[in-house]
Every structure is written in structure tokens, then in C-alpha cells.
Amino acid sequence: MKILYFAWLREKAGTAAEEVEPPAGVRTVADLIAWLSARSPGHAAAFADLATVRCAVNQDFAGPETPIAPGDEVAFFPPVTGG
């Protein structure tokens, strides 16, 4: 599974992209966040305030209950500020 981080989530996590293999129990975006948060203090900091974290699964906006599967591209980022 490919994990992408953008903007300040990238800075806090300390990486722009990583390949991970979460255990079978990690079935949703919320599960994945909990599992990723335990990887490093940086990851924990990136996910400390979930009110400011947005997610996309395979380039579609996703919510905490969105299911994830091996091979997915999951991205985490702050609320968008383009335009």
C-alpha cells in the first residue's frame, strides 16, 4: 500500500511517500491512521489533530470509514487551499 503525505503532513511525517504493509486488521482509513501514528513521533504529530487532516483513497476524497485494501494509494493532507 502506498501512503502519500502533502503540505504540513509531509513535513511532520518526515516523508512524502512510503510503502507500507499494514496487518489484516487495518481495514479502514481510521484503522490506517491509528496504525501509521505508531510508526514514529513524526507520524504521531502529523495525525495529532484529525480535524485538520483530509484523506484520499486512490485519488478520491475519503472518510474515516472508507475501506482500504492492499495496492491502494492513500494520501493524507490538510484542507485544500488552492485557487
Binding site: 502519500l4 484520499a56 485519488q59 490538510p78 485544500v80 487551499t81 488552492g82 485557487g83
Partner: protein
């Protein structure tokens, strides 16, 4: 079919208008919005702004926003160009242009596109201040409100 471009280079507004109207005489109005980098943010002078985006999803999200506009209004053309990378105050950052037989559809679709783009396309701005510090721009509640007003269409599409 909308024209969607994400690029670092400046765009040519006149060329984009020409491209939208080339060879056609059924267009009655073109609505256009040009976003420009301002020299202040929250009252603080800024020296530059860097735009990060999510390659792949960005084009996909912009395409979906344009497709939504095309279902709501009878558009004869639609262009969305968004720049990424480091920009200076005064630099154009985004162009939205819409063509329709009638002005109201063109203007409404243009306003819709920039409102939705601001809340649904994966771009993030980082502002650089004079003292060398920089900060990610926070999303604005006003932008969410502006986008939300399109959830219940207010006016009929045709004039």
C-alpha cells in the same frame, strides 16, 4: 470537454480565450476569473507563495469539477489552468474561463468552478514572509460557505 492544465509556467490569458472561441460563432458570452498572488496575507506582507499539489489527483479533481459544471450549465467551452511551484506577488495563479450561448450560464459556471476548485482540488499554499519565516495557509470557512451555496442550485441554467 474541458481543458484542464496544471503547470509551473505562466499561462497566456488571451491565447486561452482565443482557443476557447476558435472557429465558433455560437458563443455569446465568456466568463473569466483570474486569480493573482497578493502581497499580503492576514495583514502581513508576503514575498512569495509556493503551491504544492497532488499530481494525478489534481487533474482528476479539476476534471470532475468541470464535468459537474458542464452538467449544470449549457457550456460551449471550459478551461481551468492552475499553476504550481513558487510564485511572486502579482503573478497569475489560476485561470477559469467558460463559454456559453448566454452570459448568465457563463458567469454562473465561472463562479461555480472557482468556488468548487477552492474546496475540492488538492492544492496547498505556503506563504513566505519578509523575515524569512513561512507558513501553510489555513483553509477558510468562507471558501467552504461559498462552495456550499452551489449544493442547491439557485437559478435555472438557461437565460
Amino acid at each position: 470537454m474541458a481543458r484542464i492544465v496544471v503547470q509551473e509556467a505562466p499561462f497566456d490569458t488571451a491565447a486561452e480565450i482565443a482557443r476557447l472561441t476558435a472557429g465558433r460563432t455560437d458563443i455569446g458570452g465568456i466568463g473569466l476569473f483570474l486569480g493573482v498572488v497578493r502581497d499580503t496575507a492576514g495583514g502581513r506582507p508576503i514575498v512569495a507563495m509556493t503551491l504544492e499539489h497532488y499530481p494525478g489527483m489534481t487533474e482528476r479533481a479539476l476534471g470532475a469539477i468541470a464535468a459537474e459544471a458542464e452538467t449544470r450549465w449549457p457550456l460551449l467551452g471550459c478551461t481551468v489552468i492552475h499553476r504550481v511551484g513558487r510564485l511572486m506577488p502579482g503573478d497569475p495563479i489560476v485561470l477559469v474561463a467558460t463559454a456559453s450561448a448566454h452570459r448568465q450560464a457563463a458567469l454562473d459556471a465561472c463562479a461555480f468552478l472557482i468556488d468548487w476548485l477552492k474546496t475540492k482540488a488538492p492544492f496547498w499554499k505556503r506563504e513566505e514572509f519578509r523575515d524569512g519565516s513561512s507558513a501553510w495557509v489555513a483553509a477558510r470557512a468562507e471558501d467552504d460557505a461559498a462552495a456550499a451555496r452551489w449544493l442547491t442550485p439557485r437559478r435555472a441554467a438557461a437565460e
